[in-house]
């Protein structure tokens, strides 16, 4: 099993035994600043999980926010072990801050 990912900047160096899929990755809030873009297309090995996609991002950019993110796959909250499929839309979500300033939960 391979754990290889490509950020889309190059397709060289693939291993022959891995099957590749494309997922669209979206960044929101502070993660847009952390990643320097609002989204990208990544190639991931077949069988890659949500946790593995997160791990790759941690490898790209070190930031404390990775400890507190949630992930949505095709607009539904996903679990760490969920396996990605070709064509998935994967959103990396920092803690949300909608609502209003003074309506913090008790």
């Amino acid at each position: 099993m391979a754990y290889l990912f490509s950020g889309g900047w190059s397709q060289r160096g693939r291993l022959a035994y891995s099957v590749w899929m494309r997922v669209r990755v979206l960044y929101f809030g502070v993660l847009k600043d952390v990643m320097g873009q609002s989204g990208t297309v990544m190639e991931v090995a077949e069988g890659a999980s949500v946790a593995e996609l997160l791990a790759v991002h941690r490898g790209l950019v070190a930031a404390s926010v990775w400890e507190s993110v949630a992930v949505a796959v095709n607009q539904e909250y996903a679990r760490a072990g969920d396996v990605l499929k070709d064509g998935d839309e994967v959103a990396l979500l920092p803690p949300v801050s909608g609502g209003c300033e003074d309506c913090d939960a008790s």
Partner: protein
């Protein structure tokens, strides 16, 4: 049920009026507005953004759940995006019910849950800079605090290549020779 994400001014009075019906004994309104300061800094404006389609779907789900969970008759949940200035309404929640207890409870639950789970973020612009507001931690059924640990093994229990270099303790990943990134420096 009126559930919307809008870029325009929220018509508060109109939404409150249309949510009322003859069977109601109470309408509870939560009008969330932009405050002129945050943690001691003077706020110029807030910029709200959302993962729009998902946020709307989440808000629809919350509205429906509020009706069944609290037995209220109707709810409206409207959130505004874009640049908002002091005093403007960013979020409006209206709950109509036969009795006030359920209306208060549902209204409180809606705003509290929205703030924790609906994918909307705000950037606070102060006189001396801008920051993304710190959100509360995600509820345990949504957040993935253990994802880094989970990534240390593949689903079938095979150990990750050590060269991937993920370190849970430091929260940093090694960049040295990481083979996970195809094409980098080859």
């Amino acid at each position: 049920m009126r559930v919307e994400i809008t870029d325009a001014v929220i018509p508060v009075a109109e939404i409150v009026a249309e949510t009322k019906a003859g069977a109601d004994g109470a309408v509870c309104v939560f009008d969330g507005i932009v405050r002129d300061n945050s943690r001691g800094r003077k706020t110029l404006h807030l910029d709200y953004e959302a993962y729009r389609e998902m946020a709307l779907e989440q808000m629809r789900g919350l509205a429906a759940e509020a009706v069944t969970r609290f037995g209220v008759r109707d709810v409206a949940v409207v959130h505004r995006l874009g640049r908002l200035y002091v005093g403007e309404t960013s979020v409006l929640i209206v709950v109509a019910s036969a009795h006030r207890g359920a209306a208060f409870d549902a209204c409180r639950w809606l705003i509290d849950t929205l703030k924790k789970t609906v994918p909307i973020w705000k950037k606070e612009q102060f006189v001396d800079g801008a920051v993304w507001a710190d959100g509360e931690a995600f509820p345990s059924d949504i957040g993935l605090p253990g994802a880094s640990e989970a990534s240390a093994q593949s689903a079938d229990g095979e150990a990750f290549p050590s060269a991937l270099g993920l370190s849970e303790e430091s929260g940093r990943a090694s960049h040295d020779g990481a083979p996970g990134f195809v094409g980098g420096g080859e």
